[in-house]
Symmetry: C2
Subunit: 352 residues, 2 copies
Amino acid sequence: MKLNIALLAGDGIGPEVIDQAVKVSNAVAQKFNHEIVWTSALTGTAAIDAVGEPYPDATHDICMAADAVLFGAIGHPRYDNDPKATVRPEQGLLKMRKKLGLFANVRPTFTFPSLIDNSPLKRERIEGTDLIILRELTGGIYFGERGRKDDGNTAFDTCTYTRVEVQRLAKLGFEMAMARGKRLCCVDKANVLETSRLWRETVQDMEKDFPEVTVSYEFVDAVAMRLVQWPNSYDVLITENLFGDILTDEASVISGSMGLMPSASIGVHTSLFEPIHGSYPQAAGKDIANPLATVLSAAMMFEDAFGLKEEAELIRSVVNKSLAEGIVTEDLSGKNKAYKTSEVGDWLAKNI
Amino acid sequence: MKLNIALLAGDGIGPEVIDQAVKVSNAVAQKFNHEIVWTSALTGTAAIDAVGEPYPDATHDICMAADAVLFGAIGHPRYDNDPKATVRPEQGLLKMRKKLGLFANVRPTFTFPSLIDNSPLKRERIEGTDLIILRELTGGIYFGERGRKDDGNTAFDTCTYTRVEVQRLAKLGFEMAMARGKRLCCVDKANVLETSRLWRETVQDMEKDFPEVTVSYEFVDAVAMRLVQWPNSYDVLITENLFGDILTDEASVISGSMGLMPSASIGVHTSLFEPIHGSYPQAAGKDIANPLATVLSAAMMFEDAFGLKEEAELIRSVVNKSLAEGIVTEDLSGKNKAYKTSEVGDWLAKNI
Ligand SMILES: CC(C)[C@H](C(=O)O)[C@@H](O)C(=O)O
Ligand SMILES: CC(C)[C@H](C(=O)O)[C@@H](O)C(=O)O
């Protein structure tokens, strides 16, 4: 099979972790007789520095022409404390999501038995956790009208959702629930927000089409609690963009394996796969960042974008082997030897 | 001293826990020679049932005439899954906050040494946690314009903030930080939202007036993670209404003492004190709910609304004594005897 993949390494540790995913993917392709055509393109700070734009048109064209996008991370501290900056790397991310129609961010949270004690939660709270948060990614307050009034002394942001947007996301949620534990939780703030009431009523209307799925409705503040208390009580959660931003990050730390969590963003035009960790600028260029989340994102890509399940499973099993044998970067090595980012990648590729 | 206190018991377990706070407050008043005049008023579902309105004018007049308000909880499951209900108990809460000008919700999260093992977090993660989240309570998306368009198929909510609103809340945050650990964290989403950029730039402008306070700026998603990872790394956090709703609830469960956490809402016209737990309808009328959060809210009232620090400390020490001696409700009793709500209240009053 010929796989056309756009490669967006991005900022910070992005390029280093992407390199390892490429090594592993190439090893898989060789073994299964696929041909991967990688096309690299600029995004984030790297793109701003090169062409003044965090998501240049040239990059967009490459993504549109590809069957899937493998993405590193973007973000740079020089923009963080400057509320007045007019060009920001994050704008590139938002523009990319919107232009590629990446409407659903799929964020699994699961545990690795060997890493469970890294969790800030007690073992009995976290054991058995295997949930997916499905975050709407191209609507809501991220993309509504915003601005200033009264000489800059009043600011506003608008959150908007249409029924069709909710249906599209919720349908995916119902389908995922059907393929898993058949439980769906709709997360909203329907006791306050009109957009949340639209979410809730739309999902309620869809229940009849998925009679086997047990649906619950919970307020976002309650979910923020329960994710810490009993994360293992959830199966699939669906929610709007901003709530999803907060809850997916909260969920990511409870597993104790933040550095290992992959994600997919499912789109109208293509799909994108990326580690959930950020650009981690402090570690950039040091060859110490954990590449496993990116490697596991490549596994998701093989399975979800190309239907190559066996290839995906092979990557996952080699990752598990590296964990079992302690071929890991310093964030996971404890008192044992810490391997370099590139060494972990080489080891994985060799073991494919 | 004469203390005029409006008493809003509300729904669910509200009346039961409020009763115990009244007993304890009366015992304190007797001991210190204060006269408390309690004036009860209806709110929430109880008010809807009686007069068709969750925050009736008569209740508002009583609150305005009082020096402080002691509040139980509101909310009823019969409204939760009905997105089309036109009168909701929560509207009463929001109207009350707005009309009383309760602009700052003060939510401490601290630990009780004897309860620390109730936390879902490991001991080393939670030990030493003593933080305050200051949540803006009368602005933002809770109070902006909202509605439907396109035959109900599009919904919108608007988040608005003015510089003056941010300054008012932030000033309190700086002052609290000065009286504590001198560290302030401004929580926002300035990489996306214009209102957040107004927050960040306003707080940055105020830094020079509080040179001793170390200020940090963190994105709400990052804070949602760090609250689970290292809650004991925070001192005072300030944030807007919706972020505060989510983060205060998340923070409340990490201590393992959710049933004990008090809160204050500081207002233009008066201040209101309430337990952070909800109306817990499943337990209503069973005399099993934990009254300690409400009793500790009364302690906050003595101190913050009336400047009666000694009285507040006495309440706190009696609460600690009840914990040490196991005079607690079933949520805390473990394998030991569970006391009734009213028995705990009686014991506390007697020991004042
Ligand atoms: C960088 C930022 C705009 C982005 C978001 O909020 O969506 C990030 O936090 C994420 O979750 O991918
Ligand atoms: C009941 C609801 C409207 C309320 C809020 O969101 O403010 C509650 O969650 C709270 O935090 O007091």
